[in-house]
Amino acid sequence: MSKKDDHANVDLRGTLISVFFVGVVIVAMWVIVYSMYVAR
């Protein structure tokens, strides 16, 4: 079985959500500081 198939067959739903979580932290922190910038 090729490496590509290995990856195609693994269940990575948790990984997808975890990476989204990282993205949400980045966006949330950015928006908080941006709001402070705009408010000042």
Partner: protein, 550 residues
């Protein structure tokens, strides 16, 4: 186990790293008490001496020596024992770096160079401080070329093969380091040294700062990439799986060569003398670094999930519980990664042009530094120390050491959470960085910053004290595993270098064609820097004389 002569070089590097760590963390403890107005230093020692020693010894010296100790061990393991020339140059590199370290440290401690680790002009230290720094760089270059030589010999005997992932990543980091150092070498040799010894009267401040940050940002990646090496190569082995994707790992590393260097202006966003266009261009290039960073995050989560599911984890997050939490080598690195999520997000804020104005000269930056290099990098190095030193000395990593290891990483995490959160919030409120204790002349607005439960000097001092306690536990572990723990005799007692397998059959060969990556990197650097640097030289304002403010 690797060759005894190679082990010796690695152990000396790690030994010096932890000596610097001991002095540097002691300076950190003193700082938090001074800022809390709870400690009066003797007349011969001031806050800025300690602050400089803290930054130089931890950020520059601890990291550099530890990284070379790690590289030497891993390169000897993955490519085979060093030849006599590689050994000779590794030793020469080590001694030259050490000589530079001692010179710079003596100058700092004797009060001749309280210029902080960024040594911004027009603050003027002793010329010997800058000579010491130059020797540190030259020493690392000699050590780097020794490792590159070892790699070239391997390539010659393995024509057409991709190198092992560890070696590939080491060489990537070294290429990044050598290109990055050109900036700091240029400013130290041609600006600082002639100026500090009085051969020239003035210095072009903006040029010196720009050349420093040309070096200063990739310096962050010189710290970070060895930690990423542990994440990509060591962690899968601890989890009992292969590297998630060899080509993804290699691609993310070469992207760091491209996007970590032509970005230094994002440290200078508040400075005059650089037009907005060049700042904006470098901000955009800075944001490109998010791509390999998120590729790394994805790869790590995938490694965890594959391993956890293999061990019977079900559902969306059942794999999480199956991770080896009782293994301090893994848990330490996992916590390091977790700290890097807000750390990385903070970095994006810092680099976001106008948003930089909110945080630039504040304690936020200090907090950011401590949850990037101070925890993700440092705690990864701590986690590696638990097996790297026993591997090199052939001693046991006993049960009591494992328990102490857990105490150490937990105390470091708690201390850092307290201290860096306080620093982040205080920074957002407006509290400045790079200052000793100040009563702000009793100004109401300034004093209000420190009124919160979290946002006060006491929280920072408590956090700093816990961190120091943790550092001392680590020093105890280092001394025990280096000199005193019993020798491993039985096979199950022998500590291994956990290096995961990586399937490179389907990895494209062009990923290891260095000329492509060096070529693109040079193109990006020239595009981002040639015109603004030339402008700074040709339209230079009057230079500045040196100032000794201490």
């Amino acid at each position: 186990m690797i060759a005894a002569q190679d082990r010796k070089i690695a152990l000396w590097n790690i030994g010096v790293a932890y000596t610097a760590f001991l002095i540097g963390t002691l300076c950190g403890l003193l700082q938090v008490f001074i800022r809390n107005d709870a400690l009066q230093l003797p007349a011969w020692l001031d806050y800025y001496q300690i602050l400089t020693a803290h930054g130089v010894l931890l950020a520059l010296i601890f990291t550099t020596f530890f990284i070379f100790g790690f590289f030497i061990t891993g390169m000897s393991k993955s490519l085979g024992a060093f030849g006599p020339k590689v050994r000779l140059f590794s030793w020469i590199g080590f001694w030259v770096t050490l000589l530079g370290t001692v010179m710079a440290t003596v100058m700092i401690v004797s009060g001749e160079a309280s210029v902080l680790y960024t040594f911004y002009a027009p603050l003027k230290g002793s010329g010997w401080f800058y000579v010491g720094l130059a020797l540190v760089i030259v020493g690392t270059w000699i050590s780097s070329f020794a490792l590159v030589g070892h790699y070239i010999v391997w390539r010659k005997t393995h024509k057409g093969e991709l190198s092992p992932l560890f070696a590939f990543m080491t060489i990537t980091t070294i290429i990044l380091w050598i290109i990055a150092c050109l900036g700091v070498v240029a400013t130290v040799l041609f600006q600082y040294i002639p100026w500090a010894f009085g051969w020239t009267d003035t210095i072009n401040v903006e040029l010196s700062r720009s050349l420093f940050w040309y070096f200063g940002h990739p310096l962050v990646y010189f710290w970070l990439l060895p930690a990423y090496m542990a994440w990509y190569v060591i962690v899968p082995k601890l989890l009992g799986v292969k590297v998630f994707s060899d080509s993804l790992a290699r691609l993310s590393f070469v992207l760091f060569i491209l996007f970590s260097i032509p970005v230094g202006f994002h440290h200078q966003l508040t400075e005059p003398g650089i037009s907005n266009f060049w700042k904006f261009l470098q901000v955009v290039l800075t944001f490109m670094v998010i791509i390999p960073s998120l590729m790394t995050a994805f790869s790590m989560f995938a490694t965890f999930e594959i391993s956890g599911r293999k061990k019977g984890g079900t559902g969306l997050f059942g794999w999480f519980k199956k991770l080896p939490w009782k293994d301090v080598r893994f848990t330490s690195i996992f916590i390091a990664m977790a700290f890097f999520i807000p750390g990385g997000a903070g970095g994006i804020i810092n680099a976001s042009f106008q948003l930089n104005e909110v945080v630039h000269n504040t304690l936020w930056i200090v907090g950011h530094f401590h949850i990037t290099v101070g925890t993700p990098v440092a705690m990864t190095f701590m986690g590696m120390t638990f097996w790297l030193i026993p591997y090199l000395t052939g001693r046991k990593f006993t049960k009591s050491m494992q328990i102490l290891g857990f105490v150490q990483i937990i105390t470091w995490s708690i201390g850092m959470l307290l201290m860096s959160t306080a620093q982040h919030v205080l920074g957002l409120l407006g509290a400045p960085r790079r200052t000793a204790y100040s009563g702000y002349n009793g100004h109401e607005s300034a004093l209000e910053w420190f009124d919160g439960i979290l946002t006060n000097h006491v929280t920072m001092a408590v956090g700093g004290s816990i961190l120091f306690l943790s550092a001392m536990i680590l020093i105890y572990i280092v001394v025990m595993t280096m000199f005193l723990s019993p020798k491993a005799v039985k096979p199950e007692e022998i500590v291994e270098f956990p290096m995961a397998e990586s399937d490179k059959e389907s990895t494209p060969k062009w990923l290891e064609n260095w000329w492509i990556w060096i070529g693109i990197a040079v193109f990006l650097i020239v595009a981002a820097y040639a015109i603004p640097l030339s402008h700074m030289i040709h339209h230079a304002p009057p230079g500045s004389e040196g100032f000794k403010t201490w």
